[in-house]
């Protein structure tokens, strides 16, 4: 990649390849009256123009959550619109032709006549009686209601001395990997090879087998180098299905590459919960209960996991705290927008944000130091494995320890003195904390499967460790990395266990043709589940190698050890066999133990017994310009615990990237639809990703608390930074602006929002607290309040 020789999907050129362009809906909700394809069909180089009437598929696009006992209204979703469109960007027709620019010209010749219907954009308005409906057939815009809880909420409020309520918006964002989605479909002679920007090729293969009515072994999905995923490349999208269908129809390979505009309208969005949070505590800071009702704006059609994502918020609603009474309710809502689904953190950033912001709101209300409040309520180290009130069991943790470590880097007393001094000079500096935990290492199949949580899948991970005749090593993994450096970490894990060096281990992934069914890379699972699977395959290989060596060295297998790269008799390290020598004996098997098969390779399907639960403590210092509302992130310190650090450089890389992703949501990024359902933030001009000039360098440290769930003790870290950061930033900005009467502000903390909050707050009179409702924070219990689809001011874009 550093020499420009990466192989991304759009780099691929196949002989005879055609290009596909998609005609997309410009209406958020409309009947399709007619589609005139004549002009496009006769344009130069065009081989075909197709609508839903042409596509003969055996199955619609999948959504895999069917929770027992919970009704989830699930619209049937086909790749091309059938008679109606329900979001701007929805695919309506495709043009396939010989020239990349020509198909775009031809697509503009397709004339679609729409008969507009009423658009639904505000999820809270959508839930009211009499609201226009996104899907008439359901009679409601509510998709489902899902609850998790434990204890007794009435007792919680009765026991509390203080009860606080806030309406906290976790707004819609885009995953926005720098590489847009792309595919090259080659469906000739009855077999499909699909090159795809996918985080999980095997799953895609399974779905397409159903859609095309052909067996899985006739389909090969290859994810070559993938330029970032962040969750959005997990799902199974219309375009790859259509490209495959067109390839079969035209008997030519077909390439489709997304433009960034298409990526922002038609690749999944993330988050979009309005969280009505209520927390109760005693005067001394002991939290008696936390309740949250989340209004979840899911869009018009689901993708793979859409309505399930808020469940993750529920699974971690206790945070790092021992809260005896808990309840989280997700109410999903249909709107005329693109689907939301898993984006980095998938429901857990939402939880950490609401919990950690509320903790600091509560501390301010009680007149208590927020770190002291946290300590008082942290689950103590001795309590692990810890079952929390909602019934989930955290594997291991040391929340006091990670906070202690954070504070060795941040002198809060010194900061407070500095803060006061700077304030005297008109500089508003603030500090915010976020003590986070999360649930990852997806996933124990018996917990999440069809009879449990309701996912129609298992989440084990496959691996093969193959020693070749020459002693070379290939490790196959069912995970599908896209920048995490799995090759490095996996090579280390396998090499250590079989007696090779990491550079002797070739890691293969991303191709359904080369390894067994695997579940892919997302949910911070690759090391905890994929790595463990490889460790087990490697140990099986080592075990067989020991038995071969024992046989040839005329010793008992239990007397043979792997030491210093040799299989040798304990105590006689100089008389050992290298892996290559053992492999030679295995592949030229004239002298193997009785009953042993030749060859030296082992397979494992590893299903974890639990999720893993990483945790940590972050601190963020910001300067806020009270005149312009601009926020400068001055310092960001993190202490993160993902178990033993197999490769510290890779871990730091994930933290850096994750934190900036969270800073992006907190300060700059927002997906915004106007009242006509038009996407206003449709390019990188309006959807503002942070640049290098917008963020500082980071100070990262670690604690290492092993997980009992896998032999490596590892927990996963890919999403941690994103899970923690938005609360740290928000708390820091509020801390900076409290002297100006600001007590709460919703994200994104754009200059306009901050300026408005300061100016609406007015001058502080004594210590009378200001109405948080004016700053977007009040809950009156009935779900009304400022517009759910965006901030109060219409002209706000995505930031500076």
């Amino acid at each position: 990649m550093i020499t420009g020789r990466g192989r991304y999907v759009d780099d691929l050129v196949l002989s005879g390849m055609l290009y596909m362009a998609v005609v997309r809906s410009t209406e958020a909700h409309a009947k399709i009256v007619s589609i005139d394809t004549e002009g496009a069909k006769t344009a130069t180089g065009v081989h075909g123009v197709f609508t839903s009437e042409d596509l003969d598929l055996e199955a619609p696009l999948p959504m895999v959550w069917i929770p027992p006992g919970v009704e989830v209204k699930t619209p049937e979703t086909w790749p091309l619109a059938k008679g109606v469109v329900k979001y701007v960007g929805q695919p309506v027709a495709v043009v396939v032709g010989a020239d990349k620019y020509g198909v775009v010209d031809a697509a503009e010749q397709v004339v679609v006549e729409y008969d507009p219907l009423t658009v639904v954009v505000d999820p809270e308005e959508a839930l009211k009686d009499g609201s226009p409906l996104v899907h008439e057939e359901f009679g409601t815009n509510q998709t489902h209601e899902w609850t998790i809880g434990g204890g007794d909420m009435d007792a919680a409020w009765a026991d509390a001395d203080v009860v606080m309520e806030r309406r906290i918006v976790n707004h819609r964002v885009a995953g926005a990997p720098i590489e847009p989605r792309a595919c090259v479909a080659d469906f000739r002679a009855g077999a499909l090879t699909l090159h795809l920007t996918s985080q999980n090729p095997h799953l895609i293969r399974l779905f397409m087998s159903g859609e095309f009515g052909i067996s899985e072994d006739k389909i090969r999905i290859i994810a070559p180098d993938v330029g970032g995923g962040f969750g959005v490349k997990i799902m199974h999208y219309p375009e790859e299905v259509i490209a495959a269908w067109a390839s079969r129809k035209l008997n030519r390979p077909v390439k489709w590459t997304e433009t960034r505009s298409e990526n922002l309208t038609s690749t999944i969005h993330g988050r979009d919960q309005i969280d009505y949070v209520k927390v109760g505590a005693k005067r001394d800071g002991t939290i008696t209960g936390l309740e949250c009702t989340a209004i979840c704006d899911l869009g018009a059609y689901y993708t793979l996991l859409t309505p399930f994502i808020p469940c993750f918020t529920g699974f971690v609603i206790s945070g790092c705290y021992k809260i005896p009474n808990l309840k989280y309710t997700a109410r999903g809502v249909f709107t005329n927008k693109m689907a939301t689904d898993a984006t980095r953190g998938a429901g857990r950033p939402e939880a950490t944000h609401l919990i950690e912001v509320m903790v600091e709101q509560l501390a301010a209300e009680l007149g208590m130091d927020s770190l002291e409040l946290r300590r008082k309520n942290f689950i103590p180290k001795e309590d692990f494995p810890a079952e929390v009130a909602i019934g989930v069991v955290y594997d291991s943790g040391d929340y006091h320890g990670s906070l202690d470590k954070l504070l060795t880097h941040v002198d809060v007393d010194a900061f407070r003195r500095e803060q006061e001094e700077l304030r005297g000079r008109g500089i508003y500096r603030g500090i915010g904390f976020s003590t986070w935990m999360e649930i990852c290492g997806l996933a124990p199949s018996r917990v999440v499967g069809p009879s449990g949580v309701g996912l129609q899948a298992g989440f084990y991970e496959s691996s093969i460790v193959r020693i070749h005749a020459s002693g070379a090593v290939t490790a196959y993994t069912g995970t599908a990395p896209h920048g995490q450096g799995h090759d490095t970490a996996f090579a280390q894990i396998v090499a250590d266990r079989v007696g090779a060096t990491p550079d002797q281990v070739d890691v293969m992934h991303g191709d359904t043709g080369t390894g067994p069914f695997g579940l892919g890379t997302y949910g911070s699972r690759a090391l905890a589940v994929g790595g463990e699977s490889l460790a087990q395959s490697a140990l099986k290989v080592a075990d067989k190698a020991k038995r071969i060596a024992a046989h040839l060295l005329e010793a008992a297998p239990e007397d043979v050890e792997l030491s210093d790269g040799k299989y040798s008799v304990k105590g006689s390290p100089d008389k050992g066999m290298t892996l290559a020598e053992v492999a030679g004996a295995a592949y030229v098997p004239e002298n193997l133990p009785e009953g042993m098969e030749p060859g030296l390779e082992e397979t494992t399907f590893y299903d974890p017994t639990n999720f893993t639960w990483p945790f940590g403590a972050h601190a963020c210092i910001v300067d806020v310009d009270a005149e312009t509302g601009k926020v400068d992130v001055v310092r960001y310190v993190s202490v993160d615990d993902c178990g033993p650090a197999i490769n510290p450089m890779l871990i730091d890389g994930q933290i850096h990237g994750g934190v900036v992703h969270g800073i992006g949501q907190a300060l700059y990024e927002r997906i915004h639809y106007d009242e006509d359902g038009q996407l206003v933030t449709g390019t990188f001009v309006d959807y503002a990703l942070p640049s290098a000039a917008d963020v500082p360098s980071f100070e990262t440290d670690r604690t290492e608390t092993p997980s009992p769930v896998n032999s490596l003790g590892v927990k996963g870290v890919g999403e941690a930074g994103t899970i923690a950061a938005s609360a740290a930033i928000t708390n820091a900005v509020i801390d900076a602006l409290r002297p100006l009467g600001v007590t709460y502000i919703d994200m994104p903390l754009s200059p306009q929002r901050i300026w408005s909050a300061i100016n609406e707050a007015g001058p502080v009179v004594g210590d009378v607290p200001h109405d948080p409702g004016k700053q977007g924070g009040e809950w009156n219990g009935h779900g009304s309040g400022s517009a759910g689809s965006g901030p109060t001011a219409p002209s706000e874009g995505g930031g500076a």
Binding site: I178, T683, L689
Partner: protein, 158 residues
């Protein structure tokens, strides 16, 4: 059609192109130099950064015909396996890339910076890279890599 003539990574090309053909597509599709990437459609992301007559440009916002008679250098042209440019070496050593998609653009932007400012401060590096977006690394190690390369090439004539 228009005729363009340009040198890319030291190789002379003469091609007929549509006047509207973007330089990035000329490089990727016509010449097969796929190291330069497309990440957006509004000139924000910088994944398409190349050097045109010695200056960094976003090749998605340059027409191939505008590069007629010019010298273009892409990521493939500044170094290769076994003979890496100091920036390529530094990105590798400092874990300055994860998915690698923004990397060619980052390296070309970084090379342009170092050619004009051989000893930049961290702030200067961050400002210079403000036109190149990365979603994976959080920029921390990218900045480290550029500063490392600057250190390595200190005193060495460009």
């Amino acid at each position: 059609m228009a005729r363009v003539s340009m040198t890319v990574n030291g190789v002379q090309y003469d091609q007929d192109v549509e006047p509207r053909l973007l330089l990035v597509h000329f490089l990727r599709d016509t010449l097969g130099l796929t190291g330069t990437h497309v990440g957006c459609d509004t000139s924000n992301c910088g994944a398409c950064t190349v050097h045109l007559d010695g200056d960094a440009v976003k090749s998605c916002t340059v027409l191939a015909v505008q590069a007629d008679g010019s010298e273009v250098t892409t990521i493939e042209g500044i170094g290769s396996e076994g003979d890496l440019h100091p920036l390529q070496e530094a990105f590798w050593k400092n874990h300055g890339l994860q998915c690698g998609y923004c990397t060619p653009g980052m390296i070309m932007a970084g090379a342009d910076l170092l050619a004009k400012n051989a000893a930049p401060s961290e702030e200067e590096v961050r400002e210079a890279l403000a036109g190149n977006l990365c979603r994976c690394t959080g920029y921390h190690n990218i900045v480290k890599a550029v500063l490392d390369a600057a250190e390595t090439t200190k005193g060495v004539p460009a």
